[in-house]
Symmetry: none
Subunit: 209 residues, 4 copies
Amino acid sequence: MQSPRWQRRAEDRPREICAAALDVFTEKGFAAARLDEIAKRAGVSKGTLYLYFKDKEDLFRAVVRDTVAPNVGALRDAAMASELPFAAVANMFLSRFADLAQRLPVGAVAKMVIGESGNFPELAKVWHDQVAGPSIGLLAGLIEKAQAKGEVRAGDPRLHAFTLMGPMLMGVIWREILQPVGGAPLDIEALARQHSQTVLTGLLAESEQ
Amino acid sequence: MQSPRWQRRAEDRPREICAAALDVFTEKGFAAARLDEIAKRAGVSKGTLYLYFKDKEDLFRAVVRDTVAPNVGALRDAAMASELPFAAVANMFLSRFADLAQRLPVGAVAKMVIGESGNFPELAKVWHDQVAGPSIGLLAGLIEKAQAKGEVRAGDPRLHAFTLMGPMLMGVIWREILQPVGGAPLDIEALARQHSQTVLTGLLAESEQ
Amino acid sequence: MQSPRWQRRAEDRPREICAAALDVFTEKGFAAARLDEIAKRAGVSKGTLYLYFKDKEDLFRAVVRDTVAPNVGALRDAAMASELPFAAVANMFLSRFADLAQRLPVGAVAKMVIGESGNFPELAKVWHDQVAGPSIGLLAGLIEKAQAKGEVRAGDPRLHAFTLMGPMLMGVIWREILQPVGGAPLDIEALARQHSQTVLTGLLAESEQ
Amino acid sequence: MQSPRWQRRAEDRPREICAAALDVFTEKGFAAARLDEIAKRAGVSKGTLYLYFKDKEDLFRAVVRDTVAPNVGALRDAAMASELPFAAVANMFLSRFADLAQRLPVGAVAKMVIGESGNFPELAKVWHDQVAGPSIGLLAGLIEKAQAKGEVRAGDPRLHAFTLMGPMLMGVIWREILQPVGGAPLDIEALARQHSQTVLTGLLAESEQ
DNA sequence: TATGAATGAGCGTTCATTCAT
DNA sequence: AATGAATGAACGCTCATTCAT
């Protein structure tokens, strides 16, 4: 009576709700996610959600943006290393991505963005404009510079960027989608290590090149 | 009066419905797809759907299976070429995949499977068991054989397979998800060509290796 | 080809359909009965029903009327015996009813009429006007005459008719409704025999009267 | 503005809904009853029904059970009078039943149970196990005891029970089914009075016995 | 005459949203 | 600020009815 149980941490509510919502949206997708369940997992009532978010879409967007945002900064830094040899930059970039994918729900967000891209094109746009586009652009830029220096072989720099990043995306998706249904476990960091070595000097044995 | 309200086309109906359903499920995802719209696009009434499919889930599964199935066969063939030099096999595999991705809605199916993997784990399983798993396994096997022959450099064959295929998956997803929201257009076949050259001999210029 | 299988017995169709419909309507009631099932049990297609009956209601009414009709005649006869002593008339009436209830689906029709009286008041009306009303009226008339002759004790003749017929109706309902769910089996004819004896001279032993 | 769109009345809601549902189910039967109409009569929205009942069947069962239950207790008491002369017991039993039938929707429940016995055999079972079976059993037991004391004439006690109760059931059904479609009005209590007198000492005038 | 594929209105049920408490 | 009972629009599914064959 005197000290209402729920007065504590009023300003953490939005975060708690977003965390619960991320889980449910990831598991079910936007349409199949139930606000009832999000509320339950967040430990609040359904009505409370509406004190912090205008509606279900607003909550969904908030979840995606809040989870995407931190990624953006983490990638910017890699750009600064552009004076190092390309091999070192590539190594760093891949291992950094692997590290990111271990700590943040990169796979979960990818899943949501991919699955709901038809219903929420703007989220795909955010992902493109803030994450995928800049990353690819950044890489392509580094590659182009390295080509100019004679470090990297000729070819469309953007396609080269796909060669570099594609396996990492595939790894993240494998973990998120196929591993839970019986796919062989995948060590993202090992993938980053082996791939960065291999892709630089080629899959073929030196004797064959 | 002039044109009969409907025609008997029992044989084509299921295909027509599946085609319409593929579109709608791809655009909206399972939960947000409306049977009304699928029916409208298929040019039939809502009730007609139920003459051929038990319910919405049944239709969804049929769509995924029917679209996944053709892919399976197309990949088996690549295995036969295993006596060729690995470089040739890899080339063929990638260009074949690119070709497949041009003609079949690979991206659309991937999108559905990824987005609904939480609600339909069995579809993810089908995709894993019949498409992704075998493909990766096949590649890994070829790679292992090539390693034994000294053609391919050391390393976990499965991770090498990711190195080989990842960029193609990324390409497909880019086209399906990001290109519609402003992503730069991507030529999958050009990607296959450049990637297969690059990945075999390395991103680095020969002088650097 | 030459001799179409179904040309036989074309004029029996309505009867066959009614028989199947009686079963299904009795089991399920009007609303829950499926034309599909009636057609299947009648060995015809759904469309064929519409060659003989305007719609579902029309079929229902036909079923009830066709099954009710024969009962009517069978009861008229009992009136002619009105010169016999009342005890003999009552005996005859009850045993005739028991006989009827053995051979015709009296219980089934009663069930339908009772269950659908809200939706088909006219059927209840048919039942009242052609079956229950006349029967009760007939009995009440006989009783009144017998009272005038000093054969039957004073009292409202119609209520006396309830005393006479009620147990038979209860017997029919018991068989139709409660026996299938575990009610002890009931021999309608034994009931008719014992009841007709008892009701005439009283439940109480003679020493008690 | 002036009057709130709705009020919280969690405690009364189930009862109000059941009352409305009883009316509609009685009028229409289970299948033809519309939840829209039940909700309207209960003064709530359709969705509210689902706050208190799992689905339409659950509501139906609740209605029948809640309406059957009170009857059960009311009949138990009659057993205690077993030391009185049988004539007194029978009198009491019949008048008590008539009283019950005046105050409770006995006819309505009978109608529902009879009409839906095919679709809801368990309700027929409840009715048999808790109402009809015990009542008949109770009466048969009393009759058997009275026979042992020489009060009641020989014969199957259960069939005697039909002789006693049948007219009352018929009266209830008459009122519920036939009176609304033009059947002559029936005074259940008068029926109980006259029947109990008549059935004990016989329909026949004393001079005839 | 007979069929059964096709229709579409209608209902049970769900769930995002509101609002009296 | 927080609740959760109440709402009602919307959707999946059914099934009586129609009609091309």
